[in-house]
C-alpha cells in the first residue's frame, strides 16, 4: 500500500488509539469507562462482483479464483464461528460475464440471496439492463437495497430501495446507508430516465444524524459506490471520510481497489473512519471484526481486518 502512503503500522496505531478511546470517552478516568459489556461482530463485504458466478476459467491468469460456491463456503465457515456477522455488498453485482447477457441479472441476484446478503447498494453497472430490469431482478430477492442519494421518481425502484436499513444483531443496532456514484457520463441516460442524483455528502450527513440521533445505532456503516479517490474533486470515499462526521466504516466500491489494510482517516470530530474495499469479481471477501462496548458511552473499534482470498489460488506468485 505504499502507493497510498498507508501501511499496516498506521492501521495498528489507529487501532491502539481507538481502543484507548478518542475524544470524550478517552478523557474519562478508567474506573468510569470500565462498566459495560463488549460485543464482537464480524462485518463481511464484497464489491464489484460483476456477475462472476463461476470461478475464473482455466487458462486465465486468475484461474480457479473467485466464484459464489467458494464464497459461500468461506462465509459459512466464518458464520459458524462468529457470534454475530453481517454481509454487505457495495454495488456493481451485474455485468461482466455472459450470465448477465443471457439472464439479465437473475443468476446474480439469486446467488446473492442464497449467500445471505444483509444489504447492498447500487452501482452504475446495475442499471445496465435498464431500471425496469433492475426492479424485475431485485424483486426476486429479499435483501434490502439502500441508496440515500439516488431518487427514482415514480419508478417502482423507489419502493424496492431504501435510504438506509437498521440491522439488529442482538443487542447491537447497525445502521447501514448507501451512496451511489453520479450517473452522468457513466450510465447511458436512456437507461435511467427517472433516476436523479443528489449530493452524496449532504445525503450522508442526513442519514448519519437520523441513524445516530433517532434510531440510536451503535455503529453506522456507509455502503459507497463513489470510488476510493480521484485526482480531481469528484466525491470519493476518502473525501467522505474526511468531511462527514459520524460514520464508522465505509465499505467502498467502483475503483476495484484491493485494500489489504483498511485506510484510516480522521473525520472533523477527530474520530477514526475506516475505509475498506475488496477488489473486484469476488476475488476477495473482506472481513472487519469490530468490538462494540455498550456502557455509559458506546465505544466501537475494529480489532482486525483482512481480505480473504476466495477459491483456489492455483498460481501463487
Amino acid at each position: 500500500m505504499a502507493e497510498f502512503g498507508y501501511d499496516r503500522r498506521d492501521f495498528i496505531r489507529a487501532l491502539g488509539a481507538s481502543v484507548a478511546g478518542i475524544g470524550v470517552a478517552g478523557a474519562l478516568p478508567t474506573y468510569l469507562q470500565a462498566k459495560g459489556t463488549t460485543y464482537p461482530i464480524s462485518i463481511l463485504h464484497t464489491n464489484d462482483t460483476h456477475s462472476r458466478i463461476d470461478p475464473y476459467p482455466a487458462g486465465s491468469a486468475l484461474a480457479g479464483q473467485g466464484g459464489v460456491a467458494a464464497r459461500m463456503e468461506l462465509i459459512r465457515s466464518i458464520r459458524d464461528r462468529a457470534s454475530r456477522s453481517i454481509l454487505l455488498d457495495a454495488g456493481d453485482f451485474f455485468q461482466g460475464t455472459p450470465y448477465f447477457n443471457f439472464y439479465n441479472g437473475e443468476v446474480e441476484i439469486r446467488a446473492m440471496q442464497q449467500l445471505g446478503y444483509d444489504a447492498a447498494t447500487l452501482g452504475n453497472h446495475d442499471f445496465d439492463g435498464g431500471m425496469d430490469n433492475l426492479l424485475l431482478q431485485l424483486q426476486k430477492a429479499g435483501f434490502p437495497v439502500v441508496s440515500a442519494n439516488y431518487r427514482f421518481g415514480r419508478h417502482g425502484l423507489a419502493q424496492r430501495c431504501a435510504s438506509s436499513v437498521i440491522l439488529r444483531r442482538d443487542p447491537l443496532k447497525i445502521g447501514v446507508f448507501g451512496l451511489g456514484i453520479k450517473p452522468a457520463g457513466l450510465i447511458p441516460p436512456a437507461f435511467v430516465p427517472q433516476l436523479s442524483w443528489g449530493d452524496p455528502f449532504e445525503a450522508a450527513r442526513c442519514q448519519v444524524s437520523c441513524l445516530r440521533m433517532i434510531h440510536r445505532c451503535h455503529i453506522v456503516i456507509c455502503l459507497s459506490h463513489l470510488g476510493l479517490s480521484y485526482a480531481d474533486e469528484r466525491p470519493s470515499d476518502r473525501r467522505l471520510a474526511l468531511e462527514v462526521s459520524g460514520i464508522d466504516l465505509i465499505v467502498g466500491g467502483h475503483t476495484h481497489s484491493f485494500l489489504d489494510i483498511p485506510e484510516v482517516h480522521y473525520n472533523p470530530e477527530g474520530r477514526a473512519v475506516y475505509v475498506v474495499q475488496a477488489g473486484h469479481s469476488g476475488l476477495r471477501l473482506g472481513r472487519v471484526d469490530w468490538e462494540i462496548k455498550l456502557g455509559r458511552t458506546t465505544e466501537a473499534a475494529p480489532t482486525d481486518a483482512s481480505l480473504i482470498p476466495v477459491g483456489e489460488r492455483l498460481n501463487v506468485g
Binding site: 458466478i53 463456503e73 459459512r76 447477457n101 443471457f102 446467488a111 431482478q137
Partner: protein, 282 residues
C-alpha cells in the same frame, strides 16, 4: 373460525403439493426453451437495436422454476450442491458460448498506453467498420469497455463476451481535425485508448505528432471515426461528442469481433497481435 382454519390448511397443502409436482414432473428446461423459441441476444447475424429484455427474463424465469437437479451436481459435494441450480443456467448458455472461434497461442492482456489486446480489438473494428461504411479513417475503443483478457487457449464466444460484455453498437462519426484533436487529447489525458488507423505520441497528457494513415493530422480535414455508441452518447467524459454528425450502426461490437475471429479461425489463422508503437509516451 375452525372452518376457516381448516380451509387455510387445505389451501396451504394444496399449493405446496401443486408447486412440488410442478417442480418434479414439469418439462425439462431445454424442452421448454425450444418450445418457446425465444431468441438469445448472442450470437445472431442481425442484432437490431431493441432487444425485448423483459420478455426474455420472464421466459427464463419460468425455465428456472422447472429446473431439476442432475446427478453430476449432486456428486460434487455439499457446497456445489447448494448452487446446483446454477447448472441449468450454465448449461443453457454454454450451448452458445462454448462455440470455438480460433486458437490463441498467447494470452493477450490489456495495458496502457497500448497493448496487444487493445491493438487487436481496434484493428478488428477498423476492418469490420470498413466493410460497413465506405470510408473509415480511424477506429477507437474506450479501454474501460475492455473488461477481461484473452487466455492462451482456444478462444470461445465466452471469452469475447467477457472481454466486451457491454451491448454497445459500433457507430461512425465525422469529426474535423480540431475535434479529433480534442478527442485524442481527452484520451491522452487518461493514459491511452485502443486505436487503429493512426498513431500518436502523448506529451504531458496531450496528443501530439498525430498521423492518420500516412498523413499528419490536418485541422480542416474531416475524419470518419468508428467508435462505440457509448462514447458518441457522451459516456466516459466524452460529452463533447454529443451533437456531432453520426451514422448509427446496427451491429454490436461484441458480435463484430466474434464474427471476425470466427472467420479467421475458419480460414486456419492463429490469433496474433503486436504492439507497434502506435501510441508512444514522451
Amino acid at each position: 373460525m375452525r372452518l376457516s382454519l381448516l380451509l387455510w390448511a387445505l389451501l396451504f397443502c394444496w399449493t405446496n403439493l401443486a408447486s412440488g409436482t410442478n417442480r418434479i414432473a414439469g418439462p425439462p428446461y431445454e424442452q421448454y426453451f425450444f418450445e418457446q423459441n425465444f431468441e438469445f441476444p448472442y450470437p445472431s447475424d442481425t442484432t437490431l437495436r431493441k432487444p425485448n429484455r423483459t420478455q426474455k427474463a420472464s421466459s427464463v424465469y419460468q425455465a428456472y422454476n422447472s429446473y431439476t437437479l442432475n446427478s453430476d451436481s449432486l456428486l460434487k459435494g455439499r457446497v456445489s450442491q447448494s448452487f446446483a441450480w446454477v447448472d441449468s443456467f450454465r448449461n443453457l448458455q454454454n450451448q452458445f458460448t462454448n462455440k470455438p472461434l480460433l486458437w490463441s497461442p498467447k494470452a493477450l492482456i490489456k495495458s496502457m498506453p497500448e497493448s496487444e489486446l487493445t491493438n487487436l480489438l481496434a484493428d478488428i473494428l477498423l476492418i469490420e467498420s470498413r466493410s460497413i461504411w465506405d470510408t473509415v479513417h480511424i477506429s477507437l475503443l474506450n479501454p474501460g469497455g475492455i473488461r477481461a483478457e484473452f487466455p492462451a487457449d482456444t478462444l470461445r464466444l465466452l471469452h469475447v463476451m467477457e472481454v466486451l460484455p457491454f451491448p454497445n453498437h459500433l457507430d461512425k462519426i465525422t469529426l474535423s481535425g480540431t475535434e479529433l484533436q480534442q478527442l485524442l487529447d481527452h484520451w491522452a489525458g487518461k493514459g491511452g485508448i485502443a486505436l487503429s488507423g493512426m498513431r500518436m505520441s502523448i506529451i504531458e497528457g496531450k496528443a501530439a505528432d498525430v498521423w492518420v494513415g500516412d498523413d499528419p493530422l490536418q485541422q480542416k480535414h474531416s475524419y470518419h471515426v468508428a467508435l462505440p455508441d457509448y462514447l458518441v452518447d457522451g459516456g466516459d467524459g466524452c460529452s463533447f461528442l454529443i451533437g456531432s454528425r453520426v451514422q448509427r450502426g446496427a451491429h454490436r461490437i461484441t458480435d463484430l469481433v466474434a464474427r471476425h475471429l470466427e472467420t479467421m479461425g475458419k480460414s486456419g489463422e492463429l490469433l496474433k497481435s503486436q504492439t507497434d508503437g502506435r501510441i508512444r509516451i514522451r
